[in-house]
């Protein structure tokens, strides 16, 4: 729904001229300018990628990515379809382990510790690096049980589960809407509420990093805006890495933005994603250093 919104916007914008598009994005950056403190030019990283390649069998989906994700920052990964943003995101908490033939080369570190080192337990990794998916995927259980699921299965010592559930739902701006129907099925909620429930469920296990894979692409603009507000609120306590197709979204919420593009292999036609540019969002959307970034954000490409 939102991608449709986005594409028509780009279309309009392209007609109105590329200058306008760039100006509009730059003005969106202003929205959170006060929030975005005086960020250092290089992030103080909680997670880092160093020369990361991701393969599916012989196919290289992402090539040679190096960047750091800052503490209590929102980092947006943007770029055209097939540029490996989601693939990279899923390799940050080892969700790619579930795909047969998926393989990560290079170093992905969390607090300086490699998450692909030999004896690392992927479950420990995922407990600290949570994930919110593209399509809301609440369990077919009650709202309460959805939030309590993580603490229960990870065996966390919880003195009062009711408190924890309330806190997680409050923090995800859902409590007032669901406090009277905690025992009802989560599937009765609207799409936007379901996605906020998925966020509540993730923060209930108190991760340090939250990965979001196009969390608003299945939502309408109002629900999208609520999720964006929520991200800005949550980043005070969490580090957030978000993949988005929506450049306006990146401009509105992200502290830093990484632009990826896809490079087609001339022989096989396979498309490999690579990182073009990574900088403060304000910089990416006003004075990008790379021509490809500028073409993309001004709507001349992708």
């Amino acid at each position: 729904m939102n991608s449709h919104y986005y594409s028509t916007r780009t279309h309009d914008v392209a007609e109105a001229g590329n200058e306008t598009a760039a100006n509009e994005l730059a003005s969106l950056v202003e929205v959170r300018q006060d929030d975005r403190r005086s960020l250092p030019s290089d992030p103080k990283p909680i997670m880092e990628c160093e020369g990361v390649d991701v393969f599916y069998d012989d196919f290289r989906a992402v090539t040679d990515v190096s960047l750091g994700f800052g503490y209590n920052e929102i980092t947006a990964l943007i770029g055209p379809s097939g540029c490996g943003k989601s693939t990279l995101l899923r390799s940050l908490n080892r969700m790619n382990d579930l795909i047969l033939g998926a393989r990560v080369e290079g170093a992905v570190t969390f607090h300086g510790q490699s998450i692909y080192a030999k004896d690392v337990d992927p479950i420990e990794v995922r407990r600290r690096i949570g994930m919110v998916f593209q399509k809301p995927n609440p369990f077919p259980k009650s709202i309460y049980d959805n939030v309590a699921y993580g603490p229960r299965v990870t065996g966390a010592k919880v003195s009062d589960m009711d408190d924890l559930v309330e806190e997680a739902l409050t923090r995800s701006a859902l409590w007032d809407e669901v406090k009277d129907k905690l025992k009802q099925s989560a599937l009765g909620l609207s799409g936007g509420q379901q996605q906020r429930l998925c966020i509540a469920r993730t923060i209930a296990i108190r991760p340090e990093v939250i990965l979001m894979d196009e969390p608003c692409s299945a939502l309408d603009p109002i629900a999208t805006s609520r999720i964006e507000d929520l991200m800005v609120e949550l980043v005070k306590d969490y580090s957030i890495i978000i993949v988005t197709h929506n450049m306006q979204q990146a401009a509105r919420v992200a502290d830093r933005t990484a632009f990826f593009t896809a490079l087609a292999d001339e022989g096989t036609g396979d498309r490999t994603g690579l990182l073009v540019e990574y900088d403060l969002t304000a910089k990416i959307f006003s004075t990008p250093a790379d021509e490809r970034t500028e073409n993309y954000i001004s709507g001349r490409f992708g």
Binding site: L100, M131, V153, T202
Partner: protein, 328 residues
Amino acid sequence: MSSTIASEGSSTRTTPQGVEPGSYEKDPAGFLRKRRGRYGERAAMAVLIGAAGLSVLVTVGIFFALLLPALEFFREIGVVEFLTGQRWAPSFSDSSFGILPLVTGTLWTTLIGLLIAVPFGLGAAIYLAEYAPERLRRVLKPVLEVLAGIPSVVYGYFALFFVAPTILNDLLSVDVGTFSVLAAGLVLGIMIIPTVASLSEDAMSAVPRSLREASLALGANRMRTTLRVVFPAAVSGITASIVLAGSRAVGETMIVALAAGTRAQMVSNPTDAGQTMTGYIAQTATGESSPGTLTYNTLFAVGLLLFVVTLLLNVVAGSIVRKIREAY
């Protein structure tokens, strides 16, 4: 194809441009009129209705075919005596028609069968759906289903000549005679493992991948994900597989006829021999009992009870499933 349509359109249909003023009053449907002769569609529908109706008709037919002789039977033998009597001796001179011995025989073989089939079947299903690599699964599942295709008479001989003497007597030192509900039940269990495994695996594989991902992303391991997310979401299919396997066990004839024996007695111990309801029918329905005799009617009374038990199993399972399932 398209050229036929085009030529028909231009020659036989009235196009909007060709509509005469006032013609709508004479012919309200106009050029949108239904065209005659959709015989193919009607014929296809008739065949499909026939196919769907046949199975219903057969079921109803079987029910009445069972019911009428069974009613004859109950005119001579009281229902209470039939259902609560502990002595089954229909062909003795001091005949007795208490069906409980046959019921205990069926219960023992079925329960032993399920005791084998449910854990092994579910174990296999969980492995195939959640753990096995895709390639292995593609090989294992058909192999498992072959097990369901083995004729039950073969299983019966297997129980009689291998399981009872070699496995139970020699290997496990369990003291069973030639016939026992234990040997029959064990082999019956093996026979219905594929039913449980295959249908449960289907049900678990149908649970959306996104739910597994959600669980794993919350720091759950695979076993917790399986037990707390996949299992509850697939419970209706899993229950259905167990009920179907149970129905097959209740209705299975050759294995119990061969391996459980023909002594209709109250079975109190799994090492006992015992006759089941199906075993009795197989032994008695030889063509020698002529219609209208009590022996003949007895067969139908036992058959009717089997039918009702299976039906009840399905109804009860259905209502349990509705209560506990987590529909995704």
